[in-house]
Symmetry: C2
Subunit: 281 residues, 2 copies
């Protein structure tokens, strides 16, 4: 691969200023047609790497423990659902574990904020996808004062410790912030209101959330500043263009899996002997 | 649709004799090329119906409770995983809940056999897919004497009651038996042993299971005879040809969803008013 998206898209060293990062850029590729032309081969590569990751956790005598966790965060309409759909279209569902985090239930609230996250972690060999995540607990929670400042302030450190723990267990975390402009959000909300098949995606609460855009921007910047570590860096994905968002994230996943370098496991049994057994059966 | 796959593939009235049902047939379509040519339009129709099912459970003032559950059963190598992959490639992962049932854990065994099944049921609006299911409790359990006969004999009735309960709650169950020949299984096992990327899919236990083919056939026949009800009929899918298996199941899902006739929900809010609010925000 000529260009490394891992480097192109990595969140800048603090302080991150989102207003300085273009949401309509397309680093690493010149045009939509170039991206679309490259995507099939890239998708096939991702599917192959995912299957190897899964296979090496199952076969052989010493199953590998590696797994991958893609965390998707972004404002309403930034394309988290669309990204999940794209990624799921490429990978084998057997090795994919998608979790969509909504407002926590009573039971979830009665535990610490990482409780429900831990329950949804990918097992060895699996690619987990989080549509929203533990970061909501320093985003909407911070913006809407859902817990006292003393409590959410501690969470940045807790998150870093948690993600280090994941890495130690073999889970590589890829955190993507889907960066859209405020105008793009307006367009996408209006598009929902203009399409009878999309009306159900609109909530009257969306405008109230949208009015908090500056507070959310600040909360996102704080999260990017305080939790982009060597172990689990944040990537800022310019997401005004859906084709670029999908292309960039596919590249990130491919590069991350290539670093993990999963291998087809050895048989763990005598192949010729088993052939004879099958033939005789 | 000219031909109804619901009727073509429905399990015959008891007694079912699997040896009388061709596993390499392709009822309803003349050739692979015809099926492949028809598949994209059919897949688009399935995706549309699935999105409506999901939407109507979310939007409007009176969310619908309908859901769909696809149950996949069949001998080893019959293509349960391949079917899940095909179906997942067509539908939106946000409205899809795939569960792969393995040998029950200690905790699962300490509850009644439907306990883990109930936990995995699709919520309103969702399409659930079971790769293996509660039927294992009258299949491998019966063949391998894992519980006494008095116990598994009762389960056919319990399953019928359970599936009636599901129907009463709005969940339509589509049960597919993936029917392959014993020769096809041999070919597929040998193919796994011949491909370094498939060795991990082979288990030395596969031959032992294969030797129980007649007992499994009997157990499947009993399940088809005793649990194919008006409410939740079994379909027998000729599955020696993967293209037909995928084509047939896509058709079944489309026809089932067409009978449910999910509708885009009304807005539940004043569209013009909301447009003004978005524009002003």
């Amino acid at each position: 691969m000529a260009k490394s998206y891992t480097h192109l898209l990595r969140a800048p060293d603090s302080p991150v200023k989102l207003s300085k990062l273009a949401s309509d850029a397309h680093p690493g590729v010149d045009s939509k047609s170039e991206a679309l032309q490259k995507l099939p081969k890239l998708a096939a590569r991702l599917a192959d790497l995912q299957e190897r990751l899964f296979a090496q956790s199952r076969g052989g005598t010493e199953p590998a423990r590696q797994s991958l966790l893609l965390v998707l965060q972004g404002m309403d309409t930034s394309g988290k659902g669309g990204t999940v759909k794209h990624v799921a279209g490429v990978m084998d569902p057997g090795g994919l574990h998608i979790t969509s985090f909504k407002a926590p239930t009573k039971e979830e609230l009665s535990h610490d904020f990482l409780w429900r996250i831990r329950k949804a972690l990918p097992k060895p060999g699996v690619v987990g996808v989080f549509d929203r995540s533990h970061y909501e607990d320093v985003l909407i929670v911070r913006v809407r004062d859902l817990v006292p400042r003393e409590q959410w302030e501690l969470r940045y450190g807790l998150i870093n410790e948690f993600e280090q723990e994941l890495a130690d267990q073999g889970t590589t975390v890829v955190k993507c912030f889907l960066h859209i402009s405020r105008d793009t959000q307006k367009e996408r909300l209006l598009a929902r209101l203009d399409d009878p098949t999309k009306l159900w995606k609109y909530s009257t609460n969306d405008v109230a959330e949208r009015k908090l855009w500056p507070a959310y921007k600040e909360a996102y910047q704080a999260a990017l500043n305080l939790t982009s570590t060597e172990t689990a860096p944040w990537y800022v994905i310019p997401a005004d263009r859906k084709w670029y968002r999908n292309f960039a994230i596919t590249n990130l996943l491919v590069e991350t899996l290539e670093r993990l370098d999963p291998k087809w496991p050895p048989a763990g049994y005598d192949i010729e002997e088993e052939k004879q057994r099958v033939l005789a059966s």
